[in-house]
């Protein structure tokens, strides 16, 4: 791997070197490095681009890294990664995509990640997106995540996109069985003329299932953001979604929440707030000796943490 690819890898996965545990590193459209463990197998798909990640029942405290880096301008790809998580597992999956585009052609990574989670398992899934490079070519990512959470399992999903992605449409859908739980946390910042759209759909099908969807975003300069969320309470369940956004400069932000109760015992809540940084927050930090710009940066960084 070259230095640009290594930098991307560090940004999206915090990796300085080869990670411990299972991993598959994809660079410029090809798998360049892979490791499997006794409990976690990674198999290349034969009918299309992508891999199957198979995690044996009872696998505890193991991790899988599957970062993707693109440093070749003009490359576009569509990748399918399927995760099969057995019963009684406790695993962390770190995905993410970094694009460095130093050329004038569009670079694009589209990926569909499907999770099939068994019973009584805990999956933490982290996905970071990052773009760099000063070429005119756009850096585009359209990730889709489809999740089936089995009985009494818990999926924690964290998505972060802070810098450098020109256009992104993120689609996440989840279906939950009895006693299953999902917590989705989105952190998003757009700047320049970037555009980001997030669509979340959660079907609470099982009795005692619950979902908590938290989106925090900052839109700067001329960027635009759109947030859609849909929670369907199809059984005795609890659903909560929260969209909190800071708008700056000439940005535009839209939030379209939808909650539907199809069952008497479904308890659903949505909260949405869009606004600029409160003046008193800036003043408070200025009284501590920060300049207005430093105060703003501190507030934004904290908000997106």
């Amino acid at each position: 791997m070259d230095q640009i690819q290594k930098t991307l890898l560090e940004e999206i996965a915090g990796l300085h070197e080869v990670p411990a545990g299972a991993y598959n590193i994809r660079a410029n459209g090809k798998s360049v490095s892979r490791n499997t463990t006794a409990n976690i197998d990674i198999v290349t798909k034969e009918d299309k681009q992508g891999i199957d990640i198979i995690i044996k029942p009872g696998t505890k405290k193991e991790s899988v890294h599957i970062p993707v880096v693109l440093s070749q301008s003009g490359l576009t790809e569509m990748v399918y990664n399927d995760f099969y998580v057995g019963d009684d597992c406790d695993v962390t999956i770190i995905a993410g995509c970094g694009i460095h585009n130093g050329g004038d052609e569009m670079s694009k990574h589209d990926g569909i990640h499907s999770f099939f989670i068994g019973k009584n398992s805990h999956v933490r899934y982290v996905e970071k997106h990052y773009g760099s490079g000063d070429g005119k070519g756009k850096r585009i990512m359209n990730p889709e995540t489809v999740v089936e959470v089995g009985e009494n399992s818990f999926m924690e999903m964290e998505t972060v996109q802070i810098r450098g992605v020109d256009s992104t449409k993120r689609r996440t859908s989840a279906a939950l069985a009895d006693g299953a739980k999902i917590v989705i946390t989105e952190r998003l910042m757009t700047h320049g003329s970037q555009n980001a759209e997030s669509y979340f759909k959660v079907d609470l099908n099982g009795a005692g299932s619950s979902a908590n969807l938290i989106s925090r975003s900052v839109a700067k300069e001329d960027s635009t953001q759109l947030f859609f969320s849909e929670i369907n309470g199809n059984n005795q369940c609890a659903g909560h979604s929260e969209c909190d956004a800071i708008i700056m400069d000439n940005a535009k932000i839209g939030a379209v929440p939808k909650i539907t109760a199809n069952h008497l015992e479904a308890a659903l809540i949505h909260e949405a707030a869009i606004g600029k940084i409160a003046g008193e927050q800036i003043t408070k930090l200025m009284t501590l000796g920060l300049t207005e710009a430093e105060a703003e940066e501190q507030i934004v960084n904290g908000f997106l943490r």
Binding site: R216, E280, Q281, T287, G289, E292, F303, L304
Partner: protein
């Protein structure tokens, strides 16, 4: 020393009229002194505190800090010159932790142990608070104490407190008095505390009475406090100005 010279502050009202909130105030506040500013509600106390910190710009007059004219300096510049300000309603932040705020106040990297020390000084069990967000999950009293901890961490030559007693319970209040006593024990820095509370006034060195935007009295606590507390004397300044309002 902090000097306010003919300091005025007006706000526009309807039909081009202007309302005078602060009327040509002249004050000299000596170094290493604890000054309490008191007076009736709406008398201009909080506005005066904000003018000192630079959160409001005066429409006339000057503010001199240690011989330097700071009238045109902004909040950051005044903070860097050694002035601190505790808000009457502490500001909430999503995502900024108590430790972050105290670290920013101290202006240097702090170990968790040092940050905890500041919280302990305001009577908070540090371990329970240090990693919490400074947001709506904290009660008014907790936020107030964290606000005061940021002022202690700054340790500047002048600290201005805008009604520190507002929004806190009685138990917190008696601890608050102890905090101010401790801050003033060594007479190293100056304190200006806007307050209605007799217990705060009773530990001040100097008291300034501000009513209707003007200084009605200023002097040593021993001289001013008995007048404020004696029967209707507390309203004396009101009576002089407003006639029958008391």
């Amino acid at each position: 020393m902090l000097e306010l010279i003919n300091l005025s502050f007006q706000v526009p009202e309807q039909s081009n009229a202007k309302k005078e909130i602060i009327k040509s105030v002249n004050l000299q506040l000596k170094d290493h002194t604890f000054t309490a500013i008191t007076g009736p509600n709406g008398g201009g106390k909080s506005t005066l505190a904000k003018l000192i910190m630079g959160m409001e710009k005066p429409t006339g007059g000057q503010i001199i800090w240690n011989g330097q004219d700071i009238t045109d300096l902004d909040v950051t510049e005044r903070a860097k010159l050694g002035i601190s300000f505790a808000f009457q309603q502490p500001v909430r932040f999503k995502g900024i932790k108590v430790k972050d705020l105290i670290t920013l106040a101290a202006g240097e990297k702090l170990s968790t142990a040092s940050a905890c020390e500041y919280l302990s000084k305001v009577g908070l069990c540090a371990r329970d608070y240090i990693n919490r967000d400074v947001d709506g999950s904290l009660s008014g009293g907790e936020l107030k104490r964290i606000e005061i901890a940021t002022i202690i961490a700054r340790n500047t030559p002048l600290s201005v407190f805008d009604e520190p007693e507002a929004g806190i319970d009685l138990w917190s209040f008696s601890n608050l008095i102890k905090v101010f006593e401790a801050m003033h024990e060594k007479r190293e820095n100056s304190l200006i505390i806007i307050s209605h509370q007799e217990r705060i006034l009773s530990i001040a060195d100097e008291i300034v009475v501000l009513a209707d935007g003007a200084v009605k009295a200023q002097g040593a606590r021993e001289d001013i406090l008995p007048e404020l507390l004696g029967g209707t004397t507390g309203c004396k300044y009101y009576q002089q100005e407003e006639g029958t309002r008391c």
